[in-house]
């Protein structure tokens, strides 16, 4: 967990040049991550196995585990926890190369306590078990899990929200041709214009129009997912853009679009940088090829680390209340004032980060696209 946080901090620093709020945020992150580290060190070591899930019983209440609570929030899940003991069970869809497609409710697993149909939840992963309940590693390798998880459902909701919002906005553009924007349209128009003028046009150049739909989809998908992730209650709260699979997919799209739109000039620069002696090319060409993959990789890590980091901080503040509350209720109430204040502050900061990260991701994608379709022989500094 801490290795990850340090990782997030480093990746965050790479974007520091573009992020005005960064020094303050970095400081805060560092301060409270070290606090979490301290707390985690003092808390009793706790088994994370399926036999010891999130504390519910009276006997376990005293052993509040902040680390587990936070991680339980930021990772994906097969059910969507709403409040208290109530969680929405989500459909499990698995393709077993031996047994074919299987679909059933995740409620069958009873939060990892029960096996169903030869499958069981183990650390949030579906594994195959034998009749005695022992994990069958060989059979587990055959499982392709395409369940509708919490993050999947959140993605669907983000996409649905985007479709509703932007198709209705498109409708008002049609209805109000040539007139000033109104309502939702006037809220989103500056952002669309920002993406068009300050992201696409300035980075890509004359060919920007071709990439506008891709960049807008990417920008608003990240933005909406970021913002929805900050909403503490259902349907928000899912750590969509703080999920490595999601940022991996987004970065993969960037990689595919950039690579497939690369012109002769772009490939010439990668494979044989003009004006460079042949012996330098032996070093430079592998570096350039590595850079092709490194750029989307960094996009993936940056978004993931920033959003996950934000969620961890907010959850850490809340955990503080209960960590102190365990030792003395008075301390818990006392800390809650500071904690809630800091949580609100962090949430506001995260709203800024939601915009900044959507901007940075789209801006860098546009920059890479600009390098891919560039015609002239001017050298642009490539940002990694």
């Amino acid at each position: 967990m801490f290795a990850l946080n340090v990782n997030g901090y480093i990746c965050g620093r790479k974007a520091a040049g573009i992020r005005p709020a960064k020094p303050l945020k970095t400081l805060l992150r560092l301060a409270f991550l070290s606090l979490v580290l301290l707390l985690a060190g003092t808390l009793p070591a706790h088994g994370h196995g399926p036999e010891a899930p999130a504390a519910h019983g009276d006997a376990e209440a005293a052993e509040f585990n902040a680390g587990q609570l936070i991680m339980g929030h930021v990772v994906d899940d097969h059910s969507w926890h709403i409040a208290g003991d109530f969680a929405i069970p989500l459909p499990v869809i698995i393709y077993d190369t031996q047994r074919g497609l299987q679909m059933f409710s995740s409620g069958r697993f009873e939060h990892g306590h029960a096996a169903y149909n030869g499958y069981m939840l183990h650390d949030g992963k579906i594994v195959a078990v034998d009749a005695a309940g022992n994990v069958d590693e060989a059979a587990s390798a055959n499982i392709w899990d395409i369940s509708i998880t919490k993050n999947t459902l959140a993605i669907f909701m983000v996409v649905a929200l985007m479709l509703v919002v932007f198709i209705s906005v498109a409708g008002s553009y049609k209805a109000r041709t040539g007139m000033a924007p109104k309502g939702l349209q006037s809220l989103l128009e500056p952002i669309i214009l920002f993406v068009r003028d300050d992201v696409a046009k300035s980075s890509i150049g004359p060919e920007y129009a071709r990439f506008m739909p891709f960049l807008l989809t990417q920008f608003f998908l990240i933005l909406f997912a970021n913002l929805l992730g900050l909403v503490p209650v259902f349907p928000g709260g899912a750590n969509v853009t703080g999920s490595i699979a999601v940022t991996f997919t987004l970065a993969l799209f960037t990689f595919v679009v950039v690579t497939f739109n690369g012109n002769k000039h772009y490939w010439h620069h990668i494979l044989a940088m003009p004006g460079v002696p042949a012996w330098v090319l032996i070093i430079l060409t592998p570096v350039e090829i590595l850079g092709m993959f490194l750029k989307p990789f960094v996009l993936m890590i940056r978004l993931f680390a920033n959003i996950t980091g934000g969620h961890i901080i907010v959850m850490s503040f809340f955990s503080l209340i209960f960590v102190f509350g365990v030792s003395s209720p008075v301390a818990g109430y006392g800390v809650s004032i500071v904690s809630v204040a800091f949580t609100i502050f962090m949430n506001l900061l995260e709203m800024l980060v939601a915009f900044i990260q959507a901007y940075v991701f789209t801006f860098l994608t546009a920059l890479y696209l600009g390098a891919a379709v560039e015609q002239s022989h001017e050298h642009k500094e490539s940002l990694v």
């Binding site: 395409i146 498109a170 041709t177 989809t217």
Partner: protein, 169 residues
Amino acid sequence: MLLASLVEPAFGLIFWMTLSFGVAFFLLAKFAWKPILNALHERERSIEDAIGEARKAREEVAAMKAGNEELLQQARNERDQLLKEAREIRDREIAGAKDRAKAEADAILARAREDIRNEKNAAITEMKNLVGELSIEVAERILREKLSDKAAQEALLEKVLKESDLRRS
């Protein structure tokens, strides 16, 4: 364990994310981005056109104003020209009339002088004739009366003269 599930990309999520992004991209590109971007472009173009047209209209008005000014100046010049010509014509007319009148007056004067001279000559001739006749008449009477008495002679002369004078008057 949980950490592993945090940093390890889950296949299912990648699958659904790819699908969702693809669907979102195609639906939004067709039904949202295209109309929105077109409408924005259209509006910007119409605003640009309107500004251009306004500028053109302003330029036209300015050009028209300059034209009017020129026309006015032309009219003014023409008026001045006309006035000048009229004045010249008037002056010429007056001068001509004066000359003609002078010439006529001179002619009349010349004629009058001629007449006077003629009359004078005629009068002189008549006078000469009359004096001659008178002289002859006087001489006749004198010759007819006897010129004895000096006093009587003078009285006679007087009488003749008087008579002739009376007759003549």
